[in-house]
């Protein structure tokens, strides 16, 4: 009985038209925070599955990952192409997905499907300064804040859990309701931890040896 009931309920909740949502992310000092992941996880409703051909790319180029923060819906395939002139050794020891792509040469590409929602921190074994964050969320309604700290999502009306995450700090989730045809404004204030990334040694940074 229950499995039959749930889709009906979902249909009832998300059947209405789209609602505009935007969230402004600032630091505790009031400065806008970019690269913050804002996601709306439906409450009490099923989530539409990810498209079968959905694919996101995290390339290695200039001994850096192409994007510092990447958000994908769970089940998305992520490709790691080496567009560099040196080899790379991409790996992660994060719980949602532990993997290793041993040294592979420029031009090669490896891909991995991330099924479990959560945070996957990716590094390069031979380049200490290379790091990127892959945020796997259980919802197709997500966005990254821009330089003004604003993230815009268009989602069906209904109840959601708002989650805001940033490599240097996150905010506790809270529930909200998006009304049909109405724009909802939210704001999130993050207490940012210091940026502890390994600084990339610049070739010839010093006058001598």
């Amino acid at each position: 009985m229950k499995p039959v009931l749930f889709p009906l309920l979902l249909a009832a909740t998300l059947s209405a038209g789209a609602a505009d949502f935007s969230c402004t992310v600032t630091s505790s000092k009031g400065e806008p925070v970019a690269d913050a992941v804002v996601s709306l996880v439906p409450v009490g409703a099923t989530v539409p599955p990810v498209a079968a051909d959905a694919q996101v790319e995290i390339a290695q180029q200039g001994q850096e990952f192409s994007s510092y923060v990447t958000v994908v819906q769970a089940g998305t395939k992520v490709v790691f192409p080496n567009r560099d002139n040196v080899q790379h050794h991409v790996y992660s020891l994060s719980k949602p997905k532990k993997f290793e792509l041993p040294l592979y040469n420029p031009g090669q590409a490896e891909s991995i499907v991330f099924e479990v929602p959560g945070l996957v921190t990716v590094g390069c074994n031979i380049h200490d300064w290379m790091i990127c964050h892959l945020v796997v969320v259980p919802t197709p309604w997500f966005a990254k804040s821009d330089s003004a700290g604003t993230a815009k999502i268009s989602a069906p009306a209904g109840r959601y859990r708002l989650e805001v995450w940033h490599p240097r700090g996150a905010q506790a989730a809270r529930e909200l309701t998006l009304a049909d045809g109405a724009a909802t404004q939210e704001s999130a204030v993050l207490t940012l931890k210091p940026d502890r990334r390994v600084k990339r040694p610049v070739g010839g940074r010093s006058s001598g040896y």
């Binding site: 001994q63 002139n85 040196v86 080899q87 050794h89 041993p102 040294l103 074994n125 031979i126 380049h127 200490d128 300064w129 390994v198 600084k199 990339r200 040694p201 070739g203 010839g204 940074r205 010093s206 006058s207 001598g208 040896y209």
Partner: protein, 588 residues
């Protein structure tokens, strides 16, 4: 005296110079001594510090080497680099290797990391150009380490013209098989020098070898100009063992300097100069010296004032005494010194006052003596020791006695008598003295005068006769005065005799009289008595002996002979007039 350069006219100056001078000498000596000891101690202290600094410097280098080696060893156990080397040396993916080494740089905190083959061949570096150019000293170290089978090797060399400490550490694959060598260098630059300075408080300068074509300062904590002076300083570092510290003046500031040599890989050694400013080291001591100096000057000033005070305390009374001495010398005995002091000077002043009083007393006595006795006798008394007894000598004795003075005096008041008598005696004694006679004594209204005693004189008889004549004339003029005053006139008689008499002090031990005694004296008295005889009709009677003593013998009226008591021979006597006889008088 030969050794006396200065002669002090004032005692106070002398005392001042002596006290203040001595004090200043002591203070200056102490100051200089302390200053010298301080400086010597400072130099010794710096010497020690420099040697400790040298050790710290070496220790620091060793620690850097150990640190580099330890971190390099960590890298050498890292897996990721190994797959890159699992290929022929010529096939190594250098681009990836370079990025891997760059990744290590972040871990090791080195500027450049290079990789060398087990034979020391350059494989790659974080900086391809520099790595390849500076491969030689690393190769040298790798060869050295391989040869001596060392787990690491280190040394000093120029890289890009800058002094570096170099370390090579093997990449074991697996241990103890050496798969490759990491080469790491750490610059011995101004930052390094400043680190040393921060720990040791010493200035550090690295200098290239003095024999190079263009010697230069490699790095220093000093100002460039100062470092250039150190660079020009020639020092022999060939000798082994510890070199003595040297004093180098940098911008007028003395620096105690210790030179050390640092051997390079296959190159001439460089020099390290460790220095410390003597002034900085001495600053606390100098501050103390300044305080000592101020105290010394204050003490000197106090000593000077004290010396002045003491000197014045001494010299002023002395000056006062000197002033009084001059007064006393000039005959002024009236002044007395008041010096309320309990010390020797006070005693001196008291003694001086007593002396002045004594002198005044003596002078007073002398004056009195001169009045009481004749000045000649007084002189005789003062010159010779007062003693009883006398000497026999020839003298002329003159007796002069007022006639009937006893009855005369009964008619007048005693004071009037005395006044008249004094007036008379004053005239007479004046005449006698004028003629060189000496008043022996006044006997009431009578005068006894001596000629030729106590001072012997050849013409004593003539003087006596002349005096007698003048006296007679003087009596006439006195009588004229008395008559005009309505007073009774005076008359006298004079007897003169010349004889050998005993002259000297006579009397008791406590009371003496200078006088003459003898028959001759008695005769003179008798001759005076004879003038009362109207038969002789004369005021003056002289004996034969007196007249015989005068050359040429004066004319005189012979009065005959008189018998002298106690002598068998009679004595011829003569009458003399007041005017004196010019021709032979008639004889009676």
């Amino acid at each position: 005296m030969a050794f006396r350069i200065f002669r002090f006219r004032r005692f106070s100056t002398q005392l001042l110079v002596l006290l203040a001078g001595l004090f200043a000498v002591v203070q200056i000596t102490v100051y200089l001594l302390v200053s010298r000891v301080n400086e010597r101690n400072a130099i010794e202290h710096i010497d020690q510090n420099l040697r400790i600094g040298a050790k710290i410097f070496r220790r620091n280098l060793i620690e850097r080497i150990d640190y580099l080696a330890a971190t390099a060893k960590l890298m050498s156990t890292d897996y990721v680099i190994k797959p890159l080397l699992m290929t022929d040396e010529s096939q190594i993916d250098r681009a990836t290797l370079q990025t891997v080494l760059q990744s290590y740089i972040g871990r090791v905190n080195a500027n450049v990391i290079s990789l060398f083959s087990p034979e020391g061949k350059y494989l790659g570096s974080t900086d391809e150009k520099r790595g390849a150019e500076n491969a030689r000293p690393f190769k040298y170290l790798v060869e050295q380490a391989t040869e001596k089978d060392m787990e690491q090797a280190s040394g000093y060399s120029y890289l890009d013209g800058q002094l570096h400490v170099l370390v090579v550490v093997p990449l074991y694959a697996p241990y103890p098989n050496v798969g490759a060598w990491f080469g790491i260098a750490y610059p011995i630059d101004a930052k390094f020098a400043n680190d040393i300075k921060a720990t040791t408080q010493l200035d550090v300068t690295f200098l290239s070898n003095a024999d190079e074509d263009d010697p230069r300062v490699l790095s220093t904590t000093l100002a460039p100009g100062m470092a250039a002076i150190v660079l020009r300083h020639r020092v022999n570092l060939e000798a082994t063992g510890t070199a003595p510290v040297e004093m180098i003046s940098l911008g007028k500031e003395p620096y105690v300097t210790l030179f050390e040599r640092l051997d390079l890989l296959g190159e001439a050694p460089v020099r390290i100069a460790l220095q410390r400013s003597l002034n900085v080291e001495l600053a606390p001591a100098r501050e103390l010296e300044m305080i000592v100096l101020i105290i010394s000057l204050a003490a000197l000033a106090t000593a000077t004032i004290a010396a002045l005070w003491v000197a014045r305390g001494v010299s002023r009374p002395v000056q006062q005494l000197a002033q009084h001495t001059k007064l006393v010398a000039a005959g002024d005995y009236s002044q007395r010194i008041t010096l309320p002091r309990a010390d020797e000077l006070g005693e001196l002043a008291t003694a001086f006052n007593q002396m002045t009083a004594g002198l005044a007393e003596r002078d007073r006595v002398r004056n009195l003596l001169g009045m009481v006795v004749s000045p000649e006798i007084a002189a005789q008394l003062l010159q010779s020791d007062l003693k009883l007894g006398g000497e026999e000598r020839e003298a002329t004795i003159l007796f002069c006695d007022l006639r009937d003075f006893t009855t005369f005096s009964e008619k007048m008041a005693p004071t009037e008598v005395l006044t008249l008598l004094n007036r008379y005696l004053d005239r007479m004694s004046g005449i006698i003295e004028r003629h060189g006679g000496v008043i022996d004594k006044f006997i009431g209204d009578a005068i006894m005068a001596l000629f030729g005693a106590p001072v012997a004189m050849a013409d004593a008889p003539a003087r006596a006769v002349a005096a007698a004549r003048d006296m007679a004339q003087a009596l006439d003029s006195l009588n004229a005065e008395l008559r005009s005053e309505g007073k009774p006139t005076l008359a006298f008689g004079i007897g003169i005799n010349t004889a050998r008499v005993v002259a000297g002090n006579m009397g008791s031990k406590t009371r003496l009289n200078y006088t003459v005694i003898g028959d001759g004296v008695n005769l003179a008295s008798r001759l005076e008595g004879l003038t009362k005889d109207p038969a002789y009709d004369t005021l003056i009677i002289a004996s034969e002996a007196t007249l015989a003593g005068i050359t040429p013998r004066p004319f005189a009226r012979e009065l005959g002979e008189v018998k002298v008591k106690g002598k068998s021979d009679a004595v011829k006597i003569f009458a003399l007039t007041a005017k004196g006889e010019t021709k032979r008088p008639y004889s009676v």
